[in-house]
Amino acid sequence: MTALSIPARPAEDASLRPVPWRRMGWVTWRQHRFALTGVVVFLGAVAVYVWINGLQLHHAYAAAAACHPATSLACSRLIGEFRVGSFLANGFNLQAVPALIGAFAGAPVLARELETGTFRYAWTQGFGRWRWALAKLVPLAVAVTAAAGAFSALLSWYYQPLFLARNPLTLFPIPSNSLGAGMFDLRGVAFAAWTLAAFAIGALAGMLIRRVVSAMAVTLAAYAGLAFATGLYLRLHYLPPEVARNSFSFFVSDPARPVVVVSQWWTKGGTTVSPSAMNQVINSTFQRMMPVVHSSKEGAVAALKQPTNLHVLHFLTQHGYTQWTSYQQASRFWPIQWIEGGWLFALAVLLMAATVWLVRRRAA
């Protein structure tokens, strides 16, 4: 039993203006420092790995690039040594990083409050509930986006040698793939933007689902769906693709002017030929062009005369078929980066605004 008495209440006029925003700084840090530290430690550990491998990669590239003449045996051995570490090779492994940040840093922000009931404490303090939500989400979003941005700067440096389209490194297949799902979103502004979007998805999922684990699962699923849709379709259609006619050179990587093929289709006499029908035509043409073999001796000669794909294609174009190829030039890397970064940023802002609105509206 206490004998303390409460001093008289200070002047009431203070209550007319809201509690200052900056006071939430300590609150957010104190409650989410483990999540933030976790993100930094996790990214830092991967960064050390990337950095060590990157030094080797840059060294190998410099050695291979300086080698003369490029066709010599010693040089080809150097080129052979110039390759990306297997973990980093396809870029898909690191695609998981934004998703994990969204699930582990974004989803619990509101879901944990709702799951444990602490929202009944937090939302009834003088700070006000929607201000509380905003003051938590924005600094956390900025922090994880900045961490991801720094990490992606390191990745850009790591992959840099692969995109220097210079002899003798043309053997390396990646340059034409600079807009592909694996490499594109690890570099430029895309990685940070994806991380921000994943965080916002996580926050909204947490608000809607109110359970930490379920919200994390939904965040991962939603991110995966969005990333696949973007990588497989959306990204190559931000800007209208250029279209080429009977341009078979796209089958061969052109290091001076790398492109990414969006789609290919055939027409005959102004109407589109379905892919399955076209496959049959190509196969039968191929069969018809095969030399007839009677003995094993002739077979050896016939093998040399076997038609190549290019022969078949030329044959078809001479017989009324036209092949169309739509493509994006790899030089559009930065415009496409900014478009992707832009819409992801807008999406993240929209999702966070929706989250704050829900916090304000939600009936317990």
């Binding site: 039993m1 206490t2 303390l4 008495s5 409460i6 001093p7 008289a8 209440r9 200070p10 203070a14 209550s15 007319l16 809201p18 509690v19 006071r23 939430m24 300590w26 609150v27 104190r30 409650q31 444990t116 009931g117 602490t118 929202f119 009944r120 404490y121 937090a122 939302w123 009834t124 303090q125 003088g126 700070f127 006000g128 509930r129 509380w132 509206r361 009936a363 317990a364």
Partner: protein, 303 residues
């Protein structure tokens, strides 16, 4: 000033009304007890008063007309929710810091001194405190904000008798020292007799009784008389009738001045007895008109 004012307030979850047609005004300067069986709408009413739930019908204001849940309202209200939810991984000191940062006013000195008084270590994590200590910590956080209104949702339900006593003593001290108005919900009736001076009985989502405890006690009498002569007392509104083989007990609305029929005895009633009688007769009971509502219909009149 009314600390809580509701008119036609209703809350529906799906197709069931947790609270409906609730009209009441709780004046400042009381320890008001919100009583009712489980599911009567006590928590729903408090949640709407503090802005955690939005009304499906009607409106509710606090502290003399501030909209429930607005910044001005939150500034003057301290709410201790059921089971006193707290960040389990934060220490008591962190909880003080947190609450200080989230509010205009926070009396750090008072809070620390009170926790020391209660023997609650500042460095211990909230999740490792006992149930009674958690409740006391939550109450300390609430009181250190110097609220005008303290809302407590089932504050003592989980506490043992000693912790319950200490908790209520703290509430009463704050009430006496600073004039904090208190509204608490509870189904622990025995505790109310000692602390509450204003009573609201909720039943099946509607207000059944509302008024100052002294007025309510003064306006109810328990009549005891022969079982066969119940009809002779029909002049008064009967809250509850219990008829035995020989004797009948009747809780009626009557003051000490009202005449007692011949052959009957009148006794004053206790608060617990009164509340129980109303709770047992949710349908039959006519409401004693809430004396403090001047412009509104007496609420909770049975259909």
């Amino acid at each position: 000033m009314n600390v809580i004012e509701a008119s036609g307030l209703g809350k529906r979850y799906g197709s069931t009304w947790a609270l409906r047609e609730c009209t009441l005004a709780i004046p400042a300067g009381h320890v008001a007890a919100l009583v009712g069986p489980n599911g009567a709408g006590k928590t729903t009413l408090l949640n709407m008063a503090v802005g955690l739930a939005t009304p499906s019908a009607g409106r509710v204001t606090v502290l003399g007309g501030r909209p429930a849940g607005s910044l001005a309202a939150l500034d003057g209200i301290a709410f201790v929710a059921q089971d006193t939810p707290m960040y389990k991984n934060l220490s008591a000191a962190d909880m003080l810091h947190l609450t200080r940062n989230l509010n205009h006013r926070f009396d750090q000195h008072y809070a620390e001194a009170r926790l020391a008084d209660l023997g609650i270590p500042l460095k211990r994590k909230a999740g490792r405190l006992s149930g009674g200590q958690q409740a006391q910590l939550a109450l300390t956080l609430a009181l250190a904000r110097h609220p005008l209104l303290l809302l407590l949702d089932e504050p003592v339900a989980m506490l043992d008798p000693i912790a319950r006593h200490d908790f209520m003593a703290t509430v009463l001290t704050a009430m006496a020292d600073e004039g904090v108005s208190v509204v608490l919900s509870s189904h622990v009736l025995a505790e109310l007799e000692r602390v509450a001076d204003y009573l609201i009985v909720l039943s099946r989502g509607q207000v059944q009784v509302a008024g100052e405890v002294d007025d309510l006690l003064a306006s109810h009498r328990m009549l005891t008389g022969p079982a066969g002569e119940v009809a002779r007392c029909a002049g008064r509104p009967v809250v509850q009738l219990r008829r035995g083989e020989v004797q009948a007990h009747m809780l009626v609305r009557a003051t000490a001045d009202n005449p007692v029929p011949a052959g009957w005895e009148a006794h004053p009633v206790g608060l617990e007895e009164l509340v129980l009688a109303y709770l047992r007769e949710p349908g039959a009971a006519a409401l004693p008109g809430p004396t403090l509502l001047r412009d509104a219909e007496p609420s909770g009149v049975t259909q």
